[in-house]
Symmetry: D2
Subunit: 387 residues, 4 copies
Amino acid sequence: MQSMPQTSPTKWHLAHTTWFFEEFVLKKFASSYTPIDERFSYIFNSYYNLVGKQLPSPQRGLITRPTLTEVREYRRHVDEALFELLDSDVPAGNDELFNTIEIGLHHEQQHQELLLTDIKHLLWCNPLKPAYNESAREPGRAHCPMRWHAVNAGLYEIGGTGTSFCYDNELPRHRVYVHECEIADRLVTNEEFCSFIDDGGYNRSELWLDEGWRMVQEHAWDSPMYWERQDNSWSTFTLHGQQPMNPHEPVVHISLFEADAYARWSGCRLPTESEWEVACQSLPIEGNFMESGSMHPVETNRSTCMKQMFGDVWEWTGSQYRPYPGYQVPKGAIGEYNGKFMSNRFVLRGGSCATPKHHIRTTYRNFWNPLARWQFSGVRLAREGNS
Amino acid sequence: MQSMPQTSPTKWHLAHTTWFFEEFVLKKFASSYTPIDERFSYIFNSYYNLVGKQLPSPQRGLITRPTLTEVREYRRHVDEALFELLDSDVPAGNDELFNTIEIGLHHEQQHQELLLTDIKHLLWCNPLKPAYNESAREPGRAHCPMRWHAVNAGLYEIGGTGTSFCYDNELPRHRVYVHECEIADRLVTNEEFCSFIDDGGYNRSELWLDEGWRMVQEHAWDSPMYWERQDNSWSTFTLHGQQPMNPHEPVVHISLFEADAYARWSGCRLPTESEWEVACQSLPIEGNFMESGSMHPVETNRSTCMKQMFGDVWEWTGSQYRPYPGYQVPKGAIGEYNGKFMSNRFVLRGGSCATPKHHIRTTYRNFWNPLARWQFSGVRLAREGNS
Amino acid sequence: MQSMPQTSPTKWHLAHTTWFFEEFVLKKFASSYTPIDERFSYIFNSYYNLVGKQLPSPQRGLITRPTLTEVREYRRHVDEALFELLDSDVPAGNDELFNTIEIGLHHEQQHQELLLTDIKHLLWCNPLKPAYNESAREPGRAHCPMRWHAVNAGLYEIGGTGTSFCYDNELPRHRVYVHECEIADRLVTNEEFCSFIDDGGYNRSELWLDEGWRMVQEHAWDSPMYWERQDNSWSTFTLHGQQPMNPHEPVVHISLFEADAYARWSGCRLPTESEWEVACQSLPIEGNFMESGSMHPVETNRSTCMKQMFGDVWEWTGSQYRPYPGYQVPKGAIGEYNGKFMSNRFVLRGGSCATPKHHIRTTYRNFWNPLARWQFSGVRLAREGNS
Amino acid sequence: MQSMPQTSPTKWHLAHTTWFFEEFVLKKFASSYTPIDERFSYIFNSYYNLVGKQLPSPQRGLITRPTLTEVREYRRHVDEALFELLDSDVPAGNDELFNTIEIGLHHEQQHQELLLTDIKHLLWCNPLKPAYNESAREPGRAHCPMRWHAVNAGLYEIGGTGTSFCYDNELPRHRVYVHECEIADRLVTNEEFCSFIDDGGYNRSELWLDEGWRMVQEHAWDSPMYWERQDNSWSTFTLHGQQPMNPHEPVVHISLFEADAYARWSGCRLPTESEWEVACQSLPIEGNFMESGSMHPVETNRSTCMKQMFGDVWEWTGSQYRPYPGYQVPKGAIGEYNGKFMSNRFVLRGGSCATPKHHIRTTYRNFWNPLARWQFSGVRLAREGNS
């Protein structure tokens, strides 16, 4: 089932990630491949115009057939053909083939995350509020004060180095001048965000971007998505069901507008994506990822200089998503992947608790519409240097 | 799944009809009854405001839990409690109890029909166009010319007689003056409707009610719902899948506006509901109902004076749905059943190929928004007397 | 200016009524007539599809040119051509010509009323709430209790007699069986309607038709249009500006849904149009019309048996607007006048304080969408006989 | 009158610019000032939430009163009070007062431009297509080939210098690293844009940003706004009325999406705002501004190195509108001016044929929603260095 136009049914995610391999790998490189059903090319295409017409995304929930069993058969069918292809003589030295498969694997990782965020939204729409994972969570008590990490002004290089896989939108690696600034060493917590709410944050137009203020009024936003207040205390819907709010966990499920308003309220601002990347270039990729099984961001009391840069929540930056200088769109339909969304999106960095660990990188650029809230999105503060 | 706001998922129909018995019978008459889940009272209420708030109908598709298995358990639980109640001492002579159960049974029959029309719509939304019933249909060749049946002017009585069950909106039986007119002895066929299309019927504003003309333009209507033209021949989607159109079958899945425009084009008009009822007061309830298994209207070559008055398709009348003189709304929530829809609905008569045979009566008043097309709705012509 | 899609600018009303004479009289009967501007045929056509395409009605407010001066010149030009035609030899005995001119005059009277209701709406949209007529109103103190007037059951004739002008939708005169009932001898007053409000009328779903209840919730209706509550007392916007509410004046600017809910709340119902017409067949056409200059309904203390049947407010009936038995649409574009609106409209009877006196008749059938509130529409009660 | 929510009536522009002086200057600095009407503070406020509630902008067209005469009286009243204030002792050395007046003057210049673009849109909505300026235009024949101007890689400074007036969003002046690139020496012409159209530009999804492609499909865009094709040749609506298209004039009235798609089609891209500013830092402010009276962009055959950088059309850049590093929102309501629109806007540079000459600067940052087309907006190409 599909709970809103932006989400997709679980069955569709399963089929679409397989469709990617069928369409871009098998149809191109496996000369003897026979599709299980030609019509899947239409119904499981997401938005690749160059591949042909697509089922409009709000109608993905209507595909009662093929059934889940048939989709699993489809996945098996394509997997087998892929293994066969890889065992054949063809691929030796075929860079395009291997590159496409690599993209397909990363693409599937992305959908592993979406699958969880979409299920969460669907279950929340059900007035019975069922849990995805019935096992209880043990909320932690750890907490640490926020400290500032200085970034010196200067010319830096950001973007993919070409030594390992990255998406086209992380290229080319290029120079950028970064101004002196400071970046918080941890994420903003629920407790801190509550202070914003208690201070009338959602009622003060001067804290908001104009479009954000309109959202607040049209949709009566008064707290992050999934929050619910009862008898003066907050609870929140998680993949473990409705839970009391843990004050020290990172705030999550906020739009860019809420992240931005919170930052303004606290006398700070959001980091740009350059600042963010520069601040973590030397850090190891460690954090609370999908593999932890927490399915929710967690509090931190680590002693490292920068905390929660990876995992937990995607961090909204103050940078709109635009091409890097010299960016080239890859040829063919695969090139529709990243370039065409470069308007009205803001960049998010660092991955979340629903991101597979091996999917994330320092240079990774995620991007969403600034009003999106159903992803695991949160906020880290920045401010001018010497402020 | 739910394919549009006006339809409901199969699982919801199953649960809602059971909810009716729980809410109006068990909670009232079975003192020891314990609901399986108190929250079902909310999610399976359709539109009874007096019972409490309801899940908005467009969100019925979001209830992934309870599962189908749990809904079946809910049905079993309620059925058992009902049998227990009927076996107890309480009911003897309790007219209100028996009346409510009787309404509940008729209510369930209505949903048996909706269940089929909603499934048909859902399967049609799937670009793969799967069939509900895979077995082939043998299209008939029978055909007979249309003849006119005269109705004499005079005072008549219409409405429920009180000797057997009827809904409140069929009461009270009352006098009505009917003017001299003639009514067609059979339904309009696909072939006849094609002549209307070929004559530019969908492009000629003068044939349409103003609201109908707006629908034609906004939704680019150019044929009945479920029709598709390919290489100059029509096919139509049925519960047996996509099928070539049978010219002699009754045209079906048309709105009031199309029925009305067709009638005007042919120099006739729609019968009023009084005329329709007067014309069939002495006829037996026979026809192509759900029990035939055809799941589609069929052609006729019967020799009876009036053909297809019952079953096949609901017949749009030219009467807007309003209360009969002296109509009384039943007390309590059960009274929300029929009275509150008495604006912007037209009356349809006679039942369809998806209606259970024992559900229909001569006096039965069905009613839909004039733009509805996903029911099995068709048209029978009438004209002034001596015309 | 145009304050909503349903209203028209004053300048447009002035031009459109003249367009009617140009299009249906001069272009047809005055062979030497030369239009002042061929394009007026497009921009001043309201909804006559057979005459050609029209400017969409919500865009009437965009016609800054021609200017008001030019429109007045257009009116003078057409008037002169009409007088010339009437002075010529042609018309003698030309029934079609005279009939069309007669319709054109009645058409212009209708727009005289709309011109006032549209101006009222426009001025009300202005937060400065300017008055159309600055002179003060002297609110009356008269008041009389409501009495019931009995209508006997029987066969009656209603509709135009053909002895004087009427619209096509009032024809043919025909028999109708009316059931015994009683009709209130005066209109419902503001004071009475306030009791409905104070009793929670706008919050009780069981009093409302389903569509009406949706309007109440979507638009947060809590009182008639133009009403405003301040410090526990009501005032209302009139063509004389904002005024304290006079408790004994008829309630006005209510939708069919509000009229119907009020009637249900008071244990009564709306009269059908047959009942209404039968009840006033012998009454003279007297009342508070446009000519009185009041521009608002007024209280009554007349001693006549039936009061306020004509003038003051259009009275919602419980009858949806449908053709009379044997109704014939006039040939040609003029036939688009009344027939095509015969769905989702309710009949209103009796004229209002903005209706020219010579425009109204006992058999006159006005019709509006049941949610319309900006006309001078009110309510008179009826109930079953012997109730 | 108001032709769409984004535009305003002429009368409103006249009153709103005066309101700015009343609200921010007189009410603050002129202790004895008496407003002509307290309610103007509400109806002529555009979007300053901190000043109080505003009339929703789509309703500006409804203010029939005050009349134009009264608005002129309002302007005179405020002007006199301003002169009186400036003649008094107060202002000497009052920087805040003088700064606010200066902003008010620039604010009024902006509305002088909007006044023309809004009138153009309104007249175009009228099917009679009247001209604002009846005098004929003499289309020029000049034409020159496009050449590329190189920008060297390096650290540059951009933004206001503080030596003369600029808006807050042009501050602070700051360093930026610019990559090697080339910028076209003139604007894209109608003839060139026609080649894009003829090459199927509006039908090829791969040329468009995703949001742009959606606009193309939803609104059936197939050419710039105001263009009309008849018998295979294009004409365009101008403030001089409908005119044949001049192939050598700059293309105008295109959205960011069209500018971007055109650039992609031609193998180039849009310049960033940094590149644009760096490329013209040494140029004099010369061009086709409002003062020329042309009211439309004109062709060029100047021999200067960079042509049409100022005037003619606002040039879409590839930069989304975001704050400069270290940007500070001014205190108070005046600070609502620029900062709150920093999402989903793209920067435009250089002014247009409707911009007052003294309003524009090299550092000026205009910003619009990427789908806006009714401003005088066009496109200049850029490409990577050595390409």
